[in-house]
């Protein structure tokens, strides 16, 4: 009915979509990594994201709530999540890799239920909120519209994570082994590599990314129970349209998701919610195995 679409508005909205896509990318790339190397649809990924946010808050508060606390939380919260996932992997998960996908799905769902309740027991039901360091607060003017500084920061972090993942999987031996294990885990064992370790490492790395996503998102939202629900379905759709297990696919999927949503808001706010789903339907109808090559 009313349209207030201006060029600058369009651009700033696009940028906002991009920065949203960065969070989605960080979370879904971890999911995609686990899907690719371990072939595990990890439903608990969303819970780890939520725990990442809660731990980030606790750490930042413990460190006095200042900028230092924020940076500390950004590093330590994902590490804590990685430790939790390491425990889950070594104690439970590593016995199950040979099961059907549906059973793994069920297992990670059970894990998500337990983690969800543990979060409630640990942190309670209160809303929490983390404060970005002062120089990331407020907005800057981008082409005449205010654009939040923190989102600019996210726009910078996303590519750094993508680059880091690329370097990791292409330039380090562990990364190469993980790529090899994605294709043929048996053969990786036959050349003397302890596949169990590789899997544990891949799982922990993927979960680290979930925790990082949670820590990064926490200054922009309230940290609450139930954060896991919204993110997990989006992350799964993203990795599917990108091509299961393909990291660049996760990036492409996140961009499509984030941008289609933010542009949808501008163009047709009442129905912005349908755009991402429509994007998935269109992409999977045209390309039944996702945009990029899948390892599945």
């Amino acid at each position: 009915m009313e349209s207030y679409v201006t060029v600058s508005g369009l651009i700033s909205q696009f940028l906002v979509g991009l920065s949203r896509a960065m969070i989605l990318f960080i979370v879904s790339s971890g999911l995609s990594f686990i899907l690719g190397v371990l072939r595990v649809p990890n439903v608990a990924h969303g819970s780890l994201y939520m725990i990442g946010a809660f731990v980030a808050h606790t750490l930042a508060m413990a460190a006095g709530g200042g900028a230092a606390g924020f940076w500390l939380a950004l590093v330590l919260a994902p590490t804590a999540v990685a430790l939790i996932s390491l425990a889950a992997e070594r104690l439970l998960f590593c016995h199950l890799y040979e099961r059907e996908h549906l059973m793994l799905l069920l297992f990670t769902f059970a894990l998500a239920l337990i983690l969800g309740d543990l979060t409630k027991i640990t942190w309670g039901a209160d809303y929490r909120s983390l404060v970005a360091p002062p120089f990331l607060q407020g907005s800057v003017m981008v082409l005449g519209t205010p654009f939040p500084r923190y989102n600019l920061f996210l726009l910078a972090v996303g590519p750094v994570v993508a680059l880091g993942l690329w370097l990791f999987s292409n330039k380090t031996k562990v990364g190469k082994i993980a790529r090899a294990a994605a294709v043929d885990r048996e053969m990786v064992g036959a050349i003397g590599i302890n596949v169990g370790r590789v899997f544990a490492f891949a799982f922990v790395l993927g979960c680290f990314l979930a925790g990082l996503g949670g820590a990064l998102v926490s200054p922009t939202v309230s940290i609450t129970l139930g954060m896991d629900h919204t993110i997990i379905i989006e992350a799964f759709l993203i990795v599917t349209i990108g091509g299961l297990g393909n990291m660049w696919g996760a990036l492409a999927g996140s961009l499509i998701f984030g941008v289609s949503q933010s542009m949808g808001i501008l163009l047709w706010p009442q129905f912005a919610i349908v755009f991402p789903y429509l994007a998935v339907v269109i992409i999977l109808t045209l390309k039944p195995t996702g945009l990029l090559k899948s390892v599945w």
Binding site: R179, A190, I191, V195, G196
Partner: protein, 231 residues
């Protein structure tokens, strides 16, 4: 070096190997002959730990290695070259070799350069993705990859499968050279002619059972063996 004692192996519910026993002495090339589906691959996989036997013992380097996971076997000095090559298709040739590199117990210290010396064709393809190699090149890469783990003992599964005669010949020469370098080899083949000049001793496997064994020259003249091997 290797002693397999009466192993039985199952895939799910199907019983594949029945009481398979064989011995490989250090420095020997031993061949395991049989046709498609006879149980050669399963035997090799059982030794390697990829398809652990349900019953029976496997001793390797004076140790009981029954039920060991593949990576421990590899670290003990067993190199495995699977029949369907199983190159890591997404990785380059160089990366395929790199991730396999390991200080194994083998006497020869293999590195990328030495492996490329043995298979010069691969050197030119260092940066090519493994999946884009031809069948023969993949075979070489699979052997090269196994060598990178510095094994004492090589399990070769049907190296000649699908190769043109010329390639088969040159492959034979490489294997002979490896033998000269002191490697012990267990070679699964259905091509009796190929193994003739290479191996010291042979086992014939059929329907999951070892039905004959002896020196290869003797085996080749056994009419029953000839029948089984499709000559």
């Amino acid at each position: 070096m290797l002693e397999v004692q009466g192993i039985h192996t199952y895939y799910g519910l199907s019983h594949i190997l029945f009481d398979v026993s064989l011995r490989v002495e250090a420095g020997q090339v031993v061949c395991l002959l049989g046709r498609n589906g006879a149980g050669k691959t399963t035997t090799l996989k059982s030794i390697m730990g990829l398809a652990p036997p349900a019953r029976g013992r496997i001793r390797f380097n004076q140790r009981d290695v029954t039920g060991w996971p593949p990576y421990r076997m590899a670290r003990q000095g067993a190199g495995f070259v699977p029949d369907n090559r199983r190159i890591f298709a997404d990785l380059t040739v160089g990366e395929n070799l790199e991730i396999a590199a390991r200080q194994g117990p083998g006497a020869e210290k293999w590195d990328r350069e030495r492996v490329y010396d043995l298979f010069p064709a691969l050197r030119a393809m260092d940066r090519r993705r493994g999946g884009l190699l031809s069948g023969g090149e993949q075979k070489m890469l699979a052997i090269a990859r196994a060598l990178m783990t510095n094994p004492q003992f090589l399990l070769l599964d049907e190296p000649t499968e699908g190769l043109a005669p010329l390639l088969v010949k040159s492959l034979g020469e490489r294997i002979r050279k490896l033998k000269e370098l002191g490697l012990t080899v267990l070679l699964a083949e259905q091509n009796l002619r190929f193994t003739l000049g290479l191996s010291d001793y042979g086992y014939i496997i059929d329907n999951g059972r070892i039905c004959h064994h002896g020196r290869v020259a003797e085996l080749v003249n056994d009419p029953q063996v000839r029948k089984i091997c499709g000559i």
